[in-house]
């Protein structure tokens, strides 16, 4: 093109450059016949009226074999023909245009030719359909690319399904393991109401909280509740060791502080050197005397137990000074005693409760709020109290990000 003529508006029109056009040695006829795509025109019943040389070449057919003798759908595979009749033809009738449809054509030599087809309906002056014009693009490369994509998609789908199945299986295994760290049910004791609850922080991760409650003899019952540092399988292993050590120790000897010392030795012996593992725990024994329970409990670094009294008050049983279990060989554990009378309830909990984040400032829930909540519900039986706290935990929503265990022991109020 003459660069100097760019400013002249007439310069771009073909008529202005007949010589340029003729340089291409192109004509509409040649463009039709030898276009880089297939062209065909059919009557409304599909009979082929016109077809270009490019498409005839692709199909290996002569013009005589095709024009007036074959319909467009005759050029397709059987599956393509069904598709044509059920989708292509009706859509074309309704929309007057249809683009980018993937079909396969049958070639005389045998191999199938994947194509992309676009058709438009030519209408007469009164809008009546006259003929269908169709362009056909060779889509061999594109089709193999698409098939690769489809294959990849199927593989990804299968992998995802497998991963989901594996995950479900893992979750189930974790749930079974988690349940093994807690008593299936609490024993039914005459004159005593007990209730427990465990909130796992995540369905895919084992928690480190534990509790248990079991009869020692006709009048005495042992119980404990604690929290192992960390989460996951390592913590679960410590939890398992802790639970069974405490249980065995308490069956032997009902002195709560001694039991924590035995646990301290067991943890230190098992987890040495650079992998120390520790826990906080409350262990105790209660004895039924008349219609009261005499409770002795010892704490190792665990938040103080709560007591709700029949008169509507609530208080912490301070065990300040008790040390973490499993850290120091000569750890100190603090023992405390109380008596539960009819209408009194003792509540043990783990720090998931007090360390939940609440409010817009996401502040720690804390001991003060806990005491307030308990006071507002006192007096309360064990079941009712655990239900109230379960509701509170639920209300924390995502502010509760740790496991939480609850264990309540109470003497039902006398009617």
């Amino acid at each position: 093109m003459n660069p100097g003529a760019a400013d002249d508006p007439g310069a771009e029109t073909p008529g202005a450059w007949p010589a340029f056009s003729s340089l291409l040695e192109d004509s509409a006829e040649d463009l039709y016949e030898s276009a880089p795509c297939g062209y065909l025109s059919t009557l409304m019943d599909g009979t082929i009226a016109k077809i270009n040389a490019t498409l005839l070449g692709w199909l290996g057919l002569s013009r005589e074999e095709v024009v007036g003798r074959k319909r467009f759908s005759d050029l397709l595979t059987v599956g393509g023909r069904l598709y044509h009749e059920t989708h292509f033809a009706p859509l074309l009738r309704m929309q007057g245009h249809l683009g980018g449809v993937a079909l396969e054509m049958r070639t005389a030599a045998g191999p199938r030719l994947p194509v992309l087809v676009t058709s438009t309906l030519k209408r007469g002056p009164d809008g009546e359909p006259l003929l269908i014009r169709t362009t056909v693009f060779d889509a061999t490369d594109r089709r193999s690319y698409e098939q690769e994509l489809l294959r990849a998609r199927r593989a990804a789908d299968e992998a995802r399904e497998q991963a989901e199945a594996d995950r479900a299986q893992l979750r189930e295994a974790l749930a079974v393991l988690q349940r093994s760290l807690l008593p299936a049910t609490l024993p039914d004791l005459p004159g005593v109401e007990t209730a427990g609850y465990y909130h796992p922080a995540s369905p895919t991760e084992l928690g480190g909280d534990f509790y248990d409650l079991f009869e020692l003899d006709d009048t005495r019952t042992a119980f404990f509740l604690g929290d192992v540092c960390g989460k996951g399988p390592q913590a679960a292993a410590v939890t398992s060791l802790t639970r069974y050590t405490l249980r065995a120790a308490m069956i032997q000897d009902a002195d709560p502080a001694d039991n924590l010392r035995i646990l301290n030795r067991a943890l230190m012996a098992r987890y040495t050197g650079d992998d120390p593992r520790y826990c906080t725990a409350v262990a105790g024994v209660f004895e039924r005397v008349g219609d009261t329970l005499t409770v002795r409990l010892a704490s190792g670094g665990h938040p103080p137990a709560l007591v709700l009294r029949a008169d509507g008050t609530a208080e912490f049983l301070s065990t300040r000074g008790g040390m973490l279990v499993g850290v120091l060989p000569a750890a100190q554990f603090v023992e405390v005693r109380t008596v539960l009378r009819p209408g009194d309830t003792l509540l043990l909990y783990t720090d998931g409760l007090t360390e939940a984040r609440v409010g817009p400032g996401r502040e720690l829930y804390g001991y003060e709020a806990l005491l307030e909540f308990a006071t507002a519900r006192a007096p309360a039986g064990s079941r009712a109290l655990v239900d109230a706290f379960t509701g509170l935990l639920r209300d924390f929503g995502d502010g509760l990000d740790d496991d939480t265990a609850l264990l309540a022991i109470g003497v039902p109020a006398t009617p």
Partner: protein
């Protein structure tokens, strides 16, 4: 979910007269009837709907097990008739829906009083002396064709099936084009349609039946039309001067006048 909403039911045409239910077949939706609709609208109340899974039906109501047999589609038809409390309706079923109509008429005889089968075929696959026109391999090929077309539908469809829920404009574009279907649903409908065998059901037809076939139809060839005619007791067969499988689009006047003639009071 109301049935009317679930099946995108549309009631149009005359306010009195014998109701005609126009039922689409595999591959499209109630739009298939739009050229015939005005021709029948003067004399009949018309009911159009989309099967669950097709057109603008409620896709969330689709269940694979229900729509894996023609009974599931027949239940849609019966439920639409019940919802509108139709009596003695004429069910005009295209293609596979001719067979759906047979099942529905057996299930709700008080509601369906006549059948019009447009290009019916009770069995597409050749078998023991029966010629349906296709082999099992052909049907597999159709399913492949469907699959590659949901890729090839094409530049628009490919990103959709590759899973791009973050590009809702693609879905929008598709719902605006006629007869776009969820590929998984289309596959189930295709299998149900082309692998079904309703030959035994034809003998159960007790209502007046008109069979419309096309001069040339690769899906339901004339020998299949003759088979259906022979199998349905007392049926009437009309061959339309039309090519293809969708005379309601390629020859709407002939299709509508054949239906009108069949239903005109003097004749029936």
């Amino acid at each position: 979910m109301s049935i009317l909403r679930r099946n995108n039911v549309r009631v149009t045409g005359a306010t009195t007269g014998r109701p005609v239910v126009l039922v689409h077949g595999f591959g499209c939706d109630q739009n298939m009837w739009r050229l015939v609709e005005p021709l029948l609208a003067e004399d009949h109340p018309l009911v159009l709907f989309d099967y669950v899974g097709a057109g603008r039906s409620d896709l969330s109501a689709w269940q694979e097990d229900r729509y894996s047999s023609l009974d599931g589609y027949a239940r849609d038809l019966v439920e639409v008739c019940e919802e509108l409390d139709l009596r003695d309706a004429v069910v005009v079923g295209h293609s596979v829906s001719s067979m759906t109509g047979v099942l529905a008429a057996a299930a709700a005889p008080e509601r369906i009083g006549a059948l019009v089968m447009v290009c019916p075929s009770p069995r597409y696959i050749d078998e023991d002396g029966y010629r349906g026109g296709f082999s099992a391999e052909d049907i597999e090929e159709l399913l492949e064709s469907l699959e590659s077309n949901y890729l090839g539908w094409s530049a628009t469809m490919a990103p959709v099936i590759m899973g791009n829920p973050d590009r809702p404009e693609l879905g929008e574009e598709l719902t605006n084009s006629f007869c776009a279907t969820d590929p998984d649903i289309a596959r189930v409908f295709a299998r149900t349609t082309f692998l079904s065998d309703s030959r035994k059901d034809l003998e159960t037809v007790t209502v007046p039946t008109l069979i419309l076939e096309c001069e040339q139809d690769v899906i339901a060839p004339r020998e299949v039309g003759a088979y259906v005619h022979a199998a349905v007791p007392g049926s009437e067969l009309v061959t339309l001067d039309a090519v293809g499988h969708c005379p309601q689009l390629s020859a709407p006047e002939a299709t509508a006048s054949a239906i009108s003639a069949f239903l005109s009071p003097g004749v029936r």
